[in-house]
């Protein structure tokens, strides 16, 4: 039987206090999904209003953050995402198992210098640009895992995809992000690339020393 009463004041207060706790992270995620301030605000408002209208479906005591992020990403996918255009970028060999080894060679070489990580010098603008350049399916899992720190299981639930797909998207998304970050680092002179595209850390060190 459906309860025909309106949301009570108590429900409203409970809902608002939960939403207030998560509004910053919802906005941060929305901004990276839409890449536009106005769209991000609209997306958050849409998701919050929708969550409010379905708040009776939320099981008290379960993970509110995961629940409202599911509504946010759903709203985004249904309303904001240009399905055809963005989809074609992503659905490649995604179904193949995660068999690639560790980290990309460039990033591994860079990481070999524990004092100065190649990322240390990067400015936030470049980090934002690198994230925003990721194809949307990878961007979503990287944001959910590395910014919002959701578990694989939670991400699988939020995006309604299998855990294996989360893992492969996360793996590929992270490698693409590292590559992009490295490109920005190279551009700003913190690392140098050889003619074959690999990284010449020594050259960059020599240049920094002079």
């Amino acid at each position: 039987m459906i309860d025909l009463r309106r949301q009570s004041d108590r429900t409203r207060a409970e809902f608002e206090s939960l939403v207030q706790q998560h509004l910053d992270t919802l906005y941060a995620a929305a901004l990276r999904l839409t890449r536009d301030g106005k769209d991000a605000e609209d997306l958050v408002q849409d998701a919050v209003l929708r969550a409010y209208r379905f708040f009776d479906k939320f099981e008290r005591g379960t993970n509110f953050r995961a629940w409202i992020f599911k509504i946010l990403t759903n709203t985004f996918i249904n309303r904001y995402r240009r399905v055809v255009k963005e989809r074609s970028l992503v659905d490649g060999p995604e179904t193949e198992a995660v068999t690639e080894q560790f980290v990309s060679r460039e990033a591994a070489e860079q990481a070999a210098d524990p004092e100065r990580h190649f990322l240390d010098q990067l400015v936030s603008d470049d980090v934002v640009k690198a994230i925003d350049a990721l194809p949307i399916d990878f961007r979503m899992v990287v944001i959910l895992a590395d910014l919002q720190e959701f578990s694989y299981k939670e991400i699988a639930d939020i995006l309604a995809i299998p855990v294996g797909t989360v893992m492969s998207r996360l793996f590929r998304g992270r490698r693409l992000l590292e590559k992009a970050l490295l490109a920005y680092a190279a551009e700003s002179g913190h690392v140098t690339t050889r003619a074959d595209g690999s990284i010449d850390l020594e050259a960059a060190r020599r240049r920094r020393a002079t």
């Binding site: 939403v19 906005y27 408002q45 249904n78 198992a97 591994a108 910014l147």
Partner: protein, 281 residues
């Protein structure tokens, strides 16, 4: 993972495949113990996992600095907090009516948030009434307000933003006040959206009504043919429909289509449209 004493210990290939899951804290105790046993014995894997961990930590720190709560990208603007609180205040129409109206009860009862959203968008091609009611219910902020522009300038403000003249019906005599406008989009085409406030007791209802939403769009190809109950108002044919818990009045003037969305009951909406259209003549 089951406890199997005969299961071979994790090998290099397995560590290589699952290093990210290990670092992401996805291993259970037994898996972690196995991985640690391998890493303490295998320099190659240990070195690789350490490098991976350093990169992972560095990337996460960068992400936090660039878009975490201490950065401007990671903080909801104060205006957003305010407008969400306002939207919740205005969400007066019983939430269950809007939420459940377009769905059979069985589907509505069964659905979690996700399933509901999918049904909403993929259930069927929406009619104009459906689309405009859905857009109106989002209660998005206005681009321009009567308070800032004056009541006569809102329609003019749309010039250049939509490629037709927006001539809203004359609601003023009915005591209906223009609040402002926003460019909306219906089926990927820009259209004019105006929001109105009803006088306190338009139909003698106890609860105050939510705002009216008026959509004006051009439709030279007659993409929007509406069903619904037909009412003649002078030379105009107005169709009255119910969509998503709202009552919607749709009428056409040559290539321009109007859709008026309201939470008033149908007779009240009909009277209002009649008053507005006859005031225009």
């Amino acid at each position: 993972m089951t406890l199997d004493p005969f299961r071979p210990a994790m090998d290099c290939a397995e560590i290589g495949r699952s290093a990210e899951a290990l670092l992401d804290g996805e291993f259970d105790d037994r898996e972690r113990a196995e991985a640690e046993a391998h890493l303490s014995a295998c320099d190659r894997c240990r070195g690789a996992v350490e490098k991976l961990a350093r990169t992972r930590t560095a990337v996460r720190e960068k992400l936090r600095a660039a878009m975490g709560p201490s950065s401007p990208h990671g903080r909801a603007p104060a205006a957003l907090r305010a407008r969400i609180a306002e939207a919740l205040d205005r969400d007066r129409l019983p939430w269950w009516r809007r939420a459940l109206a377009p769905l059979p009860l069985a589907a509505a009862a069964a659905c979690a948030a996700g399933a509901m959203l999918v049904l909403w968008t993929h259930g069927k091609a929406d009619s104009l009434a459906e689309e405009t009611a859905a857009w109106h219910s989002r209660d998005l902020p206005l681009d321009v307000t009567t308070a800032s522009l004056g009541p006569d300038s809102v329609a003019r403000w749309f010039r250049g933003k939509v490629d037709f003249n927006t001539r809203p019906p004359e609601f003023r005599r009915a005591g209906v006040k223009l609040l402002g406008g926003r460019v909306s989009s219906i089926r990927d085409r820009p259209c004019a959206y105006m929001r109105y406030e009803l006088p306190p007791s338009a139909d003698g209802a106890q609860k105050p009504h939510g705002p009216l939403g008026l959509f004006i769009l051009d439709d030279p190809q007659h993409r929007f043919g509406e069903a619904g109950r037909e009412v003649r108002v002078g030379p105009e044919t107005v169709r009255l429909l119910n969509a998503r818990g709202y009552n919607v009045a749709v009428w056409r003037k040559n290539e321009i289509v109007y859709s008026l969305v309201s939470d008033m009951d149908e007779p009240s909406l009909e009277r209002l449209v009649e008053a507005a259209l006859s005031a225009q003549r």
